[in-house]
Point group: C2
Chain length 330, copies 2
């Protein structure tokens, strides 16, 4: 498999150099692998720090900026960042109001963020953490005990980021972040496997004519494989899987997310089918986001993430955001 | 090749239904295949209309909104829209101040937009047209006499759109659009072919271990095939090809555009290499955009588009824009 890279070993620092060149509004520390809002620390503001394996771009580095993350720590491809990155990020963005770690539920991330929280607290930084575990596909998985963290990460980072920007204290930002996660569920499908630079070939085998229902964002196995389905059938399956665990009594935010290798033309068609199913199930959609936000390198496929919102969460979702990958209102 | 679609025949209207659901700020006429700014016609404002084959998303429908296009007409995949769509779009957005057609240089588009201009003028709409032909790769190509129109389309639509939003008259907007095109040049490479829904398989053969230098956005042949190169070598080749025809004496806008199937992680790495080459050649970069903007379905690859700007063009580039795919400042 051909890739637009130099050598597999430098993919992450090479990308960080490109981010630094393209986004002068960010401070990109290529050596230590930390991406920071240039105006951090923002006086009196709770800071949000996230991170995870690379390969899910624009998550997390593309979500650093006003109204969302203060810093992001990219690990190697599909590999957790190390505690040193997280502590360095926390120290760079803490204004004294404390730091919220947003952690996707994968064993490596959980352990490393927990260690980083201890180390940061030793340095006098107040840290809270929220675990994102929205994927309903499987109970336990290759890299996870419990549900995996996927698309809801975007909702948590956006809404908690807006709350922090408004000056809410750490405890309140943490509570909101937890509420967003608990109000969110996801389900993804893969039509073709992704290729990691280190492996140079597909990370799993998916026979021609089959799709993986409930795939994880690293290509982890899902619920089952079936003969290829139409976009409408996939929407029925994915939305119903989400609605088995989330029964919205108020409007939802809908993320129709591409896995990376599926064209936007197809994603919009899928978004139309997702809306059709939601309307048939009586679910009201407040806002819809279609595109590549929480990806799996070049994997072909898509996912549906729903987040039930009340007036406060919707207001915070709509609040101004200015990051490389998500921006509105400013 | 598996795709996230229902049937190939309905890919375009299916996607339009999804756009309508996701973007209530747009008026999407699925039947007639026209996407219009909801507040059009804007009193006293010159209107911008563009269009072309589908498969290049977010171009053009994703660029409809304040500060950019007033309407877009999507054709079938890799097929020009028809004059009826363009006339309908022009009639929907014309405030009496006239309409500018932004036309990529492909024979079908050129003929159909020319016919539409005549028909619209018969209906009393003043029409001007600008041809985008920025691709330096080949002189003539599969669907084109002269240079092909690719990434510069985004620069033309953004800068002319800002000029129109400021209330400039048609002649001035047209002159600016032409100036942007003449100040822009592009060069693209393919690492893997794209798959059209109708064909269901790769649209061209690209042997393992080779890349196509100078590929067109429909997979048209480029200058040559070579054994796979590194990201840095590709950046050297692509930037130098652009600089053979564009010798900037002032800063440039740089679009490091994905072909669709190449992960953002790789695109950022490539962007870093493009910046390195430009610095080595003494070219100053004013703004950089990295991502999937003018795509070729799931083709793997990338392109470099440079646009030399003066103060006026840079100011118009920075002006507020609010579309599904490009937004800042509002």
């Amino acid at each position: 498999m051909k890739m637009l890279i130099n050598v597999p070993e430098t993919v992450v620092p090479d990308a960080l150099r490109g981010m630094a060149a393209a986004h002068p509004e960010l401070n990109v520390d290529v050596e230590h692998r930390v991406i920071v809002r240039r105006d951090a620390p923002v006086a009196g503001k709770v800071a949000l720090v996230s991170g995870g394996g690379s390969g899910h771009e624009p998550l997390h580095g593309g979500f650093v900026g006003r109204g969302m993350l203060d810093a992001a720590c990219p690990g190697e491809v599909f590999t957790s960042p190390v505690p040193d990155q997280m502590v360095r990020a926390a120290a760079a963005v803490d204004s004294g109001a404390g730091v919220l770690f947003v952690v996707k539920n994968y064993t490596g991330d959980v352990l490393n963020f927990a260690m980083a929280a201890e180390l940061a607290e030793d340095e006098g930084i107040q840290v809270a953490s929220v675990l994102v575990n929205d994927d309903v596909a499987v109970r336990d998985s290759t890299y996870t005990a419990g549900r995996r963290g996927t698309g809801a990460t975007l909702f948590v980072e956006k809404i908690a980021g807006a709350a922090a920007e408004e000056g809410m204290p750490l405890e309140r930002v943490e509570t909101l972040a937890r509420r967003v996660n608990e109000s969110s569920r996801s389900f993804g499908v893969a039509l073709a496997a992704c290729t990691t630079p280190a492996k140079g070939g597909p990370t799993f085998d998916l026979p021609p004519g089959e799709l993986e229902l409930g795939v994880g964002i690293h290509g982890e196995p899902g619920r089952e494989r079936r003969a290829m389905m139409t976009s409408g059938e996939i929407a029925d399956f994915a939305v119903d899987a989400v609605l088995e665990e989330l029964r919205p009594t108020s409007p939802v935010l809908a993320l129709v997310g591409g896995a990376g290798g599926t064209p936007l033309l197809e994603l919009y068609g899928f978004a139309g089918e997702v809306h059709r199913v939601l309307a048939q199930r009586g679910v009201n959609v407040a806002r819809t986001l279609v595109g590549n936000y929480v990806t799996s390198l070049d994997m072909a496929g898509a996912s549906v993430t729903l987040c039930q919102v009340d007036e406060e969460l919707l207001r915070l979702w709509d609040a101004p955001v200015r990051t490389p990958a998500l921006r509105w209102g400013c």
